[in-house]
């Protein structure tokens, strides 16, 4: 019997798996959310197509607000609309919101505790040719540090759609990061998604890889290949970085005794940091961290950059072997 969760796509490692960017999932999810709740509005900072707001704009023109290149206003005005009872989705590239608008996100949205949904597209180095200026690899850190905030990084287009609908139904500030580049679509309609609930995508007992975002697919590939070397690796989708699913993470730490975290983000302050903070006080466990190591991104193809910054399948396999030796 396969160690893989039954709800994932069949032929998970088929090289011809369909590929879509997670931002496409947002584009579908926001239309779904708008149909479910008339209070949903979209605020867009001059990036209608690339943040995948075009369908929403066409279907709900009266609920679409063109902000221009006003990212700080995007956050402040979103807070104001939420105070009037709307559910604003404020959308830009992650670098600019929450990046540029951090203080407004912190004070106008989170200290105010208003129901604003922050949509950060183009997160990670996989933005590719645009280079370091547009590659947000600090966004998880700067959002998860703020009280009242929920932080989510969906692993594929289908999960991104589910996450978009789910945040429209929860009350409170949320940040969801999406990717520009296409990535394998490997979850299905049946794959469970609940905010704050990590899912075990692959059972194992030697090491637990805990990942978020599209790199989760690399983690599954690494686990599959390591099986051939006799290693039994668990893979967990921790799509919600805050609040962390502490129960699932503690169980994995106890069962496997070693952890590798994987994220397309700076190692400092990201998912790995959150897990380390939690386990250090509850169940100290050896951890290796896959992510960007205190550097800025640069131009290149998405795949080149993922490899260059040490987030490819081989890097994950190395980290698993290394953490095994530390057990």
């Amino acid at each position: 019997m396969s160690a893989l969760a039954h709800h994932l796509i069949e032929d998970l490692f088929d090289p011809n798996l369909p590929q879509k960017p997670t931002r496409d999932g947002y584009g579908l999810g926001i239309v779904d959310a708008a149909k479910l709740d008339p209070r949903v509005v979209v605020l867009c900072a001059d990036l209608t197509e690339s943040t995948r707001n075009l369908d929403f704009k066409n279907q709900f023109p009266d609920r679409f607000v063109q902000m221009g290149v006003h990212e700080q206003l995007l956050a402040a005005l979103g807070a104001g609309m939420a105070l009037a009872g709307k559910i604003p989705f404020i959308t830009s590239y992650a670098m600019f919101c929450p990046g540029r608008a951090w203080e407004q996100v912190r004070t106008n949205i989170c200290l105010n505790n208003v129901n604003v949904k922050i949509i950060g597209s183009h997160a990670g180095v996989s933005v590719g040719p645009d280079g370091a200026t547009h590659q947000a690899i600090e966004d998880i850190a700067i959002t998860r540090v703020i009280p009242n905030m929920t932080v989510i990084a969906p692993c594929d287009m289908i999960e991104a759609r589910k996450a978009t609908i789910a945040i429209s139904k929860m009350i409170g500030p949320c940040y969801v990061r999406f990717a520009r580049e296409k990535s394998p679509v490997f979850t299905t309609k049946k794959t469970p998604f609940e905010i704050g609930k990590a899912e075990i995508f692959r059972e194992g007992k030697d090491v637990a890889i805990i990942a978020c975002g599209p790199l989760l697919y690399n983690a599954l590939k690494a686990a599959e290949e390591l099986m051939k070397d006799g290693m039994d690796v668990m893979v967990i989708n921790s799509h919600t970085i805050k609040p962390l699913d502490e129960k699932t993470i503690l169980q994995a730490a106890k069962k496997c005794g070693a952890i590798v975290t994987v994220e397309e983000h700076q190692i400092a302050g990201g998912l790995g940091g959150a897990i380390a903070e939690y386990l250090a006080k509850t169940y100290p466990t050896p951890i290796e961290f896959i992510g960007v190591q205190n550097r800025f991104g640069e131009s290149g193809s998405p795949q080149e950059l993922i490899e260059h910054f040490g987030m490819g399948v081989e890097s994950i396999k190395k980290a698993v072997k290394k953490v095994l030796r530390r057990k």
């Binding site: 902000m67 709307k86 106008n108």
Partner: protein
């Protein structure tokens, strides 16, 4: 336009004086906080809370209320004083300003004190939120209006002008931005620190309707707000020319009183001066 009769004017003048006395007592008790701005804006607050705003102090979440956003949150002592006088909470609570576990934080917090509408203090971010409220109100065809009080100093923040641009584009005539034009900021004269003039022309260039008034003249302030209600197709900016520290001789027009602790005897002197004005007002109006 409703005519403000003399009896109402004198009532509002006395309320403004009362607010000023509260401000001095609160800041003295807290041993920190701001005096210059709150004293300068006391007349505007008296007019808003006791003449202009549609609100219900016993039901601060009443959906049809006008929204008052205080962008320059640091002048909150005068807002708290106006709210207490209006009946939002007991007047004795004013003495908890800036103290541990008080609802009256050093800068206002929505989650702690109902009726403050939003959390504010970081300069330049109030108008953006006010614009969001006004835009949402228009989407829902609501009649309530949004008022945003700003300092002149905070007009140096880029975010504020993002909001000015947006409101002008969208012709938000249910929005009023009041500028407390008192010419002071922490480090000195606004025109020395970072000149704002010509301020009226700046707003007009951004498609706003501008009304200027003497912000320390009740009749003039009331006229400005009443006139604002008659303007269509443009957001309204009221430039209220005020005297910082108004009513206290040693504070008036002295930028150092933006905020500084009282020395012994100063608060008592301020209260004494304000009581003299109060008596004079009462005598003039034969109350």
């Amino acid at each position: 336009m409703p005519h403000l009769h003399d009896a109402k004017i004198k009532e509002l003048e006395l309320i403004a004086n009362k607010l000023r006395q509260h401000v001095i007592e609160m800041v003295a008790e807290a041993k920190s906080g701001h005096q210059g701005g709150p004293l300068g804006m006391a007349d505007v607050f008296a007019v808003l809370y006791f003449h202009i705003l549609h609100h219900d102090p016993k039901n601060p979440e009443w959906e049809e209320r006008d929204r008052l956003i205080l962008s320059n949150g640091h002048i909150c002592p005068v807002r708290y004083a106006a709210m207490a006088e209006a009946g939002y909470f007991p007047i004795k609570e004013l003495m908890t300003l800036r103290k541990f576990s008080s609802r009256l934080q050093g800068h206002p917090e929505r989650m702690r004190l109902p009726g403050t509408e939003t959390t504010s203090g970081p300069l330049g971010s109030g108008l953006g939120q006010a614009v969001g409220l006004a835009y949402a109100a228009r989407m829902d065809k609501k009649d309530w209006r949004t008022y945003c009080l700003t300092s002149d100093g905070e007009h140096e923040a880029g975010l504020h002008w993002e909001a000015v641009l947006f409101a002008g584009k969208n012709k938000l005539d249910n929005l009023v931005c009041v500028v407390d034009r008192n010419h002071i900021q922490i480090d000195g004269d606004t025109e020395q620190i970072m000149p704002l003039e010509p301020l009226r022309e700046k707003y007009e260039a951004f498609n706003w309707h501008v009304i200027e008034c003497n912000g320390n003249d009740i009749r003039d302030v009331a006229l400005a707000f009443d006139t604002a209600k008659t303007i269509h197709e443009k957001p309204i900016c009221i430039i209220a020319h005020t005297i910082p520290g108004r009513g206290v001789s040693y504070m008036e027009n002295n930028y150092l009183w933006h905020s500084q602790p009282f020395k012994p005897g100063q608060a008592e002197q301020a209260i004494e001066e304000l009581r003299v004005i109060e008596q004079k007002l009462k005598a003039e109006h034969q109350i």
